[in-house]
């Protein structure tokens, strides 16, 4: 088929009628750019322009409903001297690294567990993806209730197995609050990891395992030297995805702790929101949001280049 289709492609290109309007419209470049113009204009207007405008805002002392003045880098200097800003930076990194590692390890475990033969596998897979499907805000409200200071079901179960009442203050203690948002982010994102890796596992040819077994490889060695290298590209892509969206997470923290207690769980996105929408300091808020850009930009470029390559 592939041998025959080559000459056909050549034939498929009809001789262009010179300068006729329909002929002009049918040229590949003209057709393509005309077709792409509306979506590209849309994205330029509502992504490109706001991105540039956000950078301009970060250089102004702009407050809500007031004209702003150019202040140079003063907002960024204020960020630099703001202890909360550095707290937020550390929180964001801790949150991203911990949640991503947990999702990676747990997701691999889920994929390996699911990569066995059993009945109702498709049903199980569908159920396991539910945390990823359901709107984050709604499932986070359920977690908030499960970790409620007075009526936490988690604590009641813990007390049932011997923890002394009233049990840990999941959202009131700074370290536990960070632990809680990491766990809930993992709960939500792990199925995405697991099911994607499962799809990767299913593409590993069984002959490779058979060959490895004949060569005397143990279960661990088969995993380490056959499975893992073949999964590496998928793990890398999913991880970059997860890092980007965890780094810029907003909803979960806004709903569960609102950055508290005492900024212990405040992230870049929630802090930028508080400054801009809460305190009305659009310029300062924009500078905090833009502080994410170097790291995010690097990750986005890396992921884009990698996806293009593969």
């Amino acid at each position: 088929m592939s041998i025959r289709s080559e000459p056909l492609v050549g034939l498929a290109r009809p001789p262009r009628p010179a300068l006729s309007r329909s002929g002009w419209l049918d040229r590949e470049a003209v057709f393509s750019w005309l077709m792409m113009a509306p979506p590209l204009l849309f994205l330029a207007g509502l992504v490109g322009y706001p991105l540039v405008y956000g950078i301009l805002l970060s250089l102004q002392d702009r407050a809500v409903a007031k004209p702003g003045h150019f202040v140079g880098l003063r907002n960024f200097i204020a960020d630099f001297h703001d202890p909360i800003f550095w707290r937020v930076a550390v929180n964001t990194v801790v949150y991203t690294v911990a949640a991503t590692l947990l999702k990676m390890v747990g997701g691999l475990g889920l994929a390996l567990a699911m990569n066995q033969h059993f009945r109702v596998k498709n049903l199980v897979r569908a159920l396991l993806l539910l945390p990823f499907i359901v709107p984050t805000v709604l499932s986070t409200v359920a977690w908030m209730w499960m970790l409620d200071p007075a009526f936490s079901v988690v604590n009641r179960l813990l007390i049932g197995i011997g923890v002394s009442p009233p049990g840990p203050s999941w959202l009131g203690n700074p370290a536990l609050a960070m632990f809680s948002i990491i766990m809930i982010n993992t709960w939500r994102g792990l199925p995405f990891y697991g099911i994607t890796l499962l799809a990767g596992l299913q593409t590993v040819p069984p002959e490779l395992y058979e060959a490895a077994t004949i060569d005397g490889a143990s279960g661990w060695h088969r995993f380490r030297f056959v499975t893992l290298p073949l999964l590496k590209p998928i793990i890398l892509i999913v991880t970059l995805f997860s890092v980007i969206f965890t780094f810029a997470d907003f909803q979960l923290v806004y709903v569960l702790t609102h950055g508290g207690p005492n900024n212990a769980t405040n992230l870049f996105a929630t802090y930028a929101f508080d400054l801009s929408m809460g305190a009305g300091q659009l310029g300062l808020g924009a500078s905090v949001a833009l502080a994410m850009l170097p790291a995010l930009g690097l990750l986005i470029v890396a992921l884009t280049l990698y996806m293009r390559k593969s």
């Binding site: 056909l8 498929a12 290109r13 419209l25 393509s32 750019w33 077709m35 792409m36 509306p38 979506p39 590209l40 849309f42 994205l43 509502l46 992504v47 706001p50 991105l51 405008y53 805002l57 475990g109 567990a113 059993f118 498709n122 199980v124 897979r125 569908a126 159920l127 396991l128 993806l129 539910l130 945390p131 499907i133 359901v134 709604l138 499932s139 409200v141 359920a142 209730w145 499960m146 409620d148 079901v153 709960w187 199925p191 099911i195 994607t196 799809a199 593409t203 907003f250 909803q251 806004y254 930028a272 929101f273 929408m277 659009l282 924009a286 994410m292 995010l296 990750l299 996806m307 293009r308």
Partner: protein, 281 residues
């Protein structure tokens, strides 16, 4: 392996880990459900066994539907999700088709730009966008979110469809071209009807993403009558320090059901879309 012992071992090896993941994944939904049908006297009683319902009641649902704008929020959410998904599919096709099928200078650059825009998270854009929406005088209108959701959905749909389009054989289109059809006719009459599975995948994803969106809706929609479910639930069922847990859980459950139903119908498409993103790149 055929012995009873081997089969038992097999069962344990499958269901011990899978069961663990299932319990962790599903417990919050179980807890949502039983909280929503417990009377307050049970909800706030620490001496009762919490995992069971003793006297189920629909009171929280009735309160939710009669005392709040929940039905209106649901309508708003569906309207916004359907319209922005539709817009995003159309614009996504307009980007993906030329990128998948045509050869022209700059195609690679455009493809990369689209992928990069998909990865730009909302927190990077919401402050300037809020100002833009204000200047367009679109605050507190559903148009504000219908216009902004596609900023994340269009690149996403384009990217997913691009991958799908490349798997569709070219022969039919080539035949249509030989028969004298224009490029536009070929695309609309011959090519797009072949791509229904791709549209379903992209559509379900876009739909769940719109249902999930919170930040833009929180900023742009501050009047109760235009709110979407996530914002309505957070902003109006949590009043100060008072939590109406029964109503909150009823709202969370009802708000999750549309997505869950649509997802259950198209779960295979969803998984295919999920994996095509990273497997086929």
């Amino acid at each position: 392996m055929v012995t009873g012992y081997g089969r038992l071992e097999q069962t344990v090896r499958v269901w011990l880990p899978v069961g663990f993941f299932l319990v962790v994944a599903l417990f919050p939904f179980y807890w949502m459900t039983i909280t929503s049908i417990k009377p307050d006297s049970e909800l706030y009683n620490r001496h009762l066994m919490p995992l069971l319902v003793h006297n189920p009641t629909l009171k929280h649902y009735i309160d939710l539907l009669t005392q709040t704008h929940f039905l209106l929020w649901t309508w708003n959410t569906m309207l916004v999700a359907i319209v922005s998904t539709g817009i995003s599919l159309v614009l996504g096709v307009m980007l993906a088709y030329p990128l998948a099928r045509m050869r022209f200078a700059g195609a690679g650059l455009i493809a990369m730009t689209v992928a990069a825009i998909y990865l730009v998270p909302q927190p990077l854009l919401f402050i300037p966008l809020a100002d833009v929406i204000n200047r367009l005088d679109l605050g507190n209108t559903l148009t504000a979110v219908i216009l902004t959701y596609p900023t994340m959905l269009v690149p996403f749909c384009a990217w997913l469809l691009l991958g799908y389009f490349k798997t569709v054989p070219k022969e039919l289109e080539e035949a249509a071209r030989i028969d004298g059809a224009s490029r536009l006719q070929t695309m609309r009459r011959i090519f797009l009807p072949l791509c229904t599975p791709g549209f379903i995948s992209a559509g379900i994803f876009a739909f769940t993403l719109s249902q999930n969106e919170f930040l833009y809706a929180l900023i742009f929609l501050t009047r109760s009558s235009v709110r979407t479910v996530p914002v309505g639930v957070i902003a109006e069922l949590i009043r100060g320090d008072v939590f109406y847990w029964g109503q909150l859980m009823a709202g969370a459950l009802l708000g999750s059901i549309p997505v869950a139903i649509i997802y259950s119908f198209f779960v295979e498409h969803y998984v295919a879309g999920l994996t095509s993103g990273s497997v086929k790149g």
